[in-house]
């Protein structure tokens, strides 16, 4: 395990990301709502470059059994990463795949020191 300075905080704006190479691995570092998240650029489905996908919202369905009303809400805008190859959706804050809850992409620890973003791997 070692620390790697990947950028100055000013280099990643809210809702943006950078791709870096650390120890021969491509890593995506995201900044969202004041938090940093780092993942390998490797999708659990077929190994696609998921860190390069679009950040969007997603549908959440709600059903009221007594009225039988069925509602779709568009939620988590900017927080859902869609793998560019086949569109598997992941929650960037947790790494969890929305259609397969047992799939969770491992996150690398990220911290900020003296204005620098440091990823540990």
């Amino acid at each position: 395990m070692s620390d790697h300075i990947v950028a100055e905080v000013s280099e990643i704006k809210d809702g943006e990301r950078i791709l870096v190479e650390l120890k021969g691995r491509e890593i995506g570092v995201f900044y969202l709502d004041g938090g940093y998240y780092a993942f390998a650029n490797w999708c659990a489905h077929q190994g696609g470059p998921w860190c390069e996908g679009n950040l969007t919202g997603t549908f959440s369905g709600k059903f009221d059994r007594s009225t039988l009303e069925y509602r779709l809400d568009w939620v988590k805008e900017g927080r859902i990463l869609n793998c560019p190859w086949h569109g598997w959706e992941y929650d960037i804050k947790t790494g969890i795949c929305l259609s397969r809850r047992s799939v969770k992409l491992p996150a690398y620890p990220v911290r900020v020191e003296d204005g620098k973003i440091i990823v540990t791997l």
Binding site: Y70, W88, S99
Partner: protein, 356 residues
Amino acid sequence: MSSERSLSLKKSTIIDVDVHLQIKPAEVAEYIEEPYRSIMTKSHIGNPLPDSGWDRSMAGKIERRQVQGPEDIHQKLCEEFHINHPIINAFGKLGKASMTKLAVSLMKGYNDLVLEKYLDGYDHFYGLISVATQDPEAAAEEIYRVGDEKQFVGVFMDNTGPNPPLGDPRYDVVYRAAEDKGLPISYHAYDSGFIVDFPRQNAALETFFSVHVLTHPYAHMLTMTSLFEHGVPEKFPGLKFIFLEGGVTWLPYMMYRLNKIHSIRRFDAPMLKKTPEEYIRDQFYVSTQPIGEPNNQDDMRKIMEVIGYDRMMFSSDYPHFDFDHPEGLEKFLRVNVPAKDRKRVLETNARGVYGI
């Protein structure tokens, strides 16, 4: 059947989850009100429920088998086939009846008839409630009307003909009623409905061979896909779904294809909180007949292991032309699977699902 051959069958308890009645229009007419009664008896075309006219008999080459009345079921199925409990459906082709009011009237008529003629005098018989999906509110009311009858153990839906397909939210009222009453849903397709759902293919195919090969899997695939599109198993987690007369081998294909496309297009089916496979392994079942026939029998064992012995229930479909004799399946299971799994398929899965 020789006594030696039937020995093992006699020792097993067998529940047959797909036993059809052949109810003539004049017979059900006695259970319905005017003017529908007269429509059933005075129609110029014989039976007002549409039929596509395909010849099942191959110009009379296979014998015509009929089961007429409860005593016949008892004799032919319970005595000769060693079926302990037949689960009877009226086999009314309600999904395609052209008048909604006629369908609703027939629905009640079939249920009263089944209750009076088949269930009341025969404690070892069970029945499924027919519903007319043309009028989901009336169908739900019917489930509440007869759902407490002890021998009615499920709801029977004709799934060739209903439009939109049966996952549409308009049917939620029916699913809620079934869940309220603790009754599972059994889907059953009809070859005569192929002409409604797939008219272009029906016009293009030359033989009943093609129509029959495709009707049941097409209908079940459409129904199952529609259920997942609208999240029905998520909306009604207490509900069980049984797919009759499609055999078992179509299930793995659909399970994995639904998984695949849902993972890509969750956007289109966002009600689902789990993979389709998880719902299927929890809430879905298939009946065994007509059991697929691989050239290498061991292939069937492998497929059944993939499906899981907790998902399958025995059915004979007697007296139809592609019925499965219980002895054939019992023997296959006896040779190929552990006794506890054989018992699940022949008996205990159905007990659990239908509450018998």
